[in-house]
């Protein structure tokens, strides 16, 4: 799969999941042309934001397959953020609309899997919106903190 297993395998280690202070693990799929650059800008502008997000750069938000999202949840992510270009700005014309449809449809399916649909978030963040990126990620982390750990481990029986 397209996910960098090296990063995820380590960072998503479940060992500390149940410890008293719960630190949400968030996988962030960021479009190269907008949100990733926005996150970069947040960094170069030295805007402070919480470190719980693990960014994965994709060439378009529509590159994120629902399978990637489920994979992340299965392997210990407590939340998944997808950052794409604003309506009309997608470099591949309509990738972001496809992403929106997939996310809304997947949210309905997540409910049947017993996963709160708001553990999945889609945001439009442009390259100039470093501040928005920091705000979105900080708020999302707090939202997930309230929900608690996802701990998708399966019952054996």
């Amino acid at each position: 799969m397209g996910i960098n297993m090296g990063i995820c395998g380590d960072v998503l280690g479940k060992k500390d999941l149940m410890e008293k202070t719960f630190e949400p693990k968030i996988i962030c799929f960021l479009c190269n042309w907008c949100t990733y650059a926005g996150a970069d800008l947040a960094g170069t502008s030295r805007i402070q934001y919480k470190p719980n997000g693990i960014p994965i750069r994709v060439m378009c938000s529509s590159r994120v397959d629902p399978m990637h999202i489920l994979w992340a949840f299965k392997h210990g992510a407590d939340g998944v953020l997808i950052g794409g270009c604003h309506p009309g700005d997608c470099h591949y014309q309509n990738g972001n609309y496809k992403t929106r449809r997939r996310v809304f449809l997947l949210e309905k399916v997540l409910k049947d899997f017993g996963i709160e649909p708001n553990r999945l978030k889609l945001e439009w963040i442009s390259a100039s919106e470093g501040r928005k990126y920091a705000k979105v990620i900080d708020e999302f982390i707090e939202e997930i903190r309230k929900l608690g750990p996802l701990a998708m481990e399966q019952s054996e029986e």
């Binding site: 799969m1 529509s62 397959d65 629902p66 399978m67 489920l70 994979w71 949840f73 299965k74 309506p87 009309g88 309509n94 609309y97 496809k98 929106r100 449809r101 997939r102 809304f104 449809l105 997947l106 309905k108 399916v109 409910k111 049947d112 899997f113 017993g114 996963i115 996802l150 998708m152 399966q154 019952s155 054996e156 029986e157």
Partner: protein, 330 residues
């Protein structure tokens, strides 16, 4: 030379897979001429002790249909595994969990409550539930344990080959049996059906426009589908793009869309997620850029029961396998 021994067994299944063996018609005589059937509960009077009496690996091939959801099924398939040279997962339920696998969207507790208590056709004022052990004057009665989670056959025992389909078509069964008996064994773990997707072999594929857009979703009973046009173009969800070929387009030829019983086409890890992605990608209308999130959600809401639609045959074999178990039932 003694004929190779063959066994058929059923687990959590509907009986359709047994039916399809009978549907081999005259061909079944060819099978019985070539093999010695030593176990087949639905048709022949052999017992578990007859299987136990066999030597390790003495059965050449066991064809096992149905998913695994009880302790009895687990014991039986483990016994058959020990006694068999080869095990073939026969049909969607053994292969991927199948229709019965949809129970993984619930827990055992929820299923029991529904079936034995709250369903309006159930009368059970004392709230009696099936027990694994019941003491009676005459002695202790036992029932197999009912598991929370439906499993595929290969999540329970080692499986050599898979025969997909709900049920597998007779032609595919015959070619699998012939291949295995010829001794020219395919690579272990092979699904004994083509690696293409159903759209590749579908007679309607040519009518699929290059840029496919579903403006509206229709359920099969809502319209008279044009028998010559791709279902997707008609707004009917068809899982052909993500489903393995080999069924001889049974549903399509009966003017019904594919529901995915052959499982994921080669290379697809999660048929449900892929199907969901494929349908969401082609669903769309002009002017979507001006659509609010609410309007986009409304468009998506046209798809009734997406989890059941996309995971209809493959939930236990999917990435997440089942609904999250809450702490209290762990």
């Amino acid at each position: 030379m003694a004929k190779p021994k063959v066994a058929f067994y059923w687990c959590a299944s509907c009986g359709g897979c047994e039916e399809t063996v009978v549907d081999l018609n005259e061909d079944i005589l060819k099978v019985t001429a070539a093999v010695d059937i030593v176990f087949w509960p639905v048709a022949l009077d052999f017992k578990r002790k007859d299987v136990e009496a066999l030597g390790k690996g003495e059965i050449a091939v066991s064809f096992i249909n149905g998913a695994i959801r009880s302790s009895e099924q687990e014991e039986m398939v483990k016994l058959l595994r020990e006694k068999s040279g080869l095990v073939v997962a026969f049909g969607s339920c053994a292969h991927l969990g199948g229709i019965v696998g949809l129970a993984n969207f619930w827990t055992k507790k929820e299923i029991f409550e529904n079936v034995y208590k709250t369903r309006y056709t159930t009368v059970n004022p004392d709230g009696v539930f099936p027990q694994e052990k019941t003491e009676t004057k005459e002695g202790t009665l036992t029932l197999p344990k009912f598991y929370d989670t439906v499993k595929t056959l290969d999540q329970t025992i080692d499986v050599d080959y898979y025969l997909p389909g709900c049920p597998p078509p007779p032609s595919l069964i015959m070619s699998a049996v012939t291949t295995i008996l010829s001794g020219k064994l395919p690579e272990k773990g092979a699904v004994l059906a083509p690696n293409k997707s159903l759209c590749d072999t579908c007679p309607r594929a040519d009518t699929k426009p290059e840029k496919l857009i579903m403006k509206e979703i229709k359920r099969p009973h809502e319209i008279m589908a044009d028998p010559n046009k791709c279902f997707l173009e008609q707004g009917i969800i068809c899982l052909g793009p993500v489903t393995r070929a080999g069924c001889e387009e049974r549903c399509i030829n009966a003017n019904m869309p594919c529901r995915g019983c052959f499982g994921p086409a080669k290379g697809i890890e999660d048929q449900g997620a892929k199907g969901l992605s494929a349908i969401a990608s082609i669903l769309g209308v002009e002017g979507e850029e001006k659509m609010t999130d609410e309007e986009a959600k409304k468009m998506i809401d046209q798809i009734v029961d997406p989890a059941g639609t996309f995971y209809r045959f493959s939930l236990p074999a999917s990435l997440l396998k089942r609904k999250k178990m809450k702490e209290e039932v762990k």
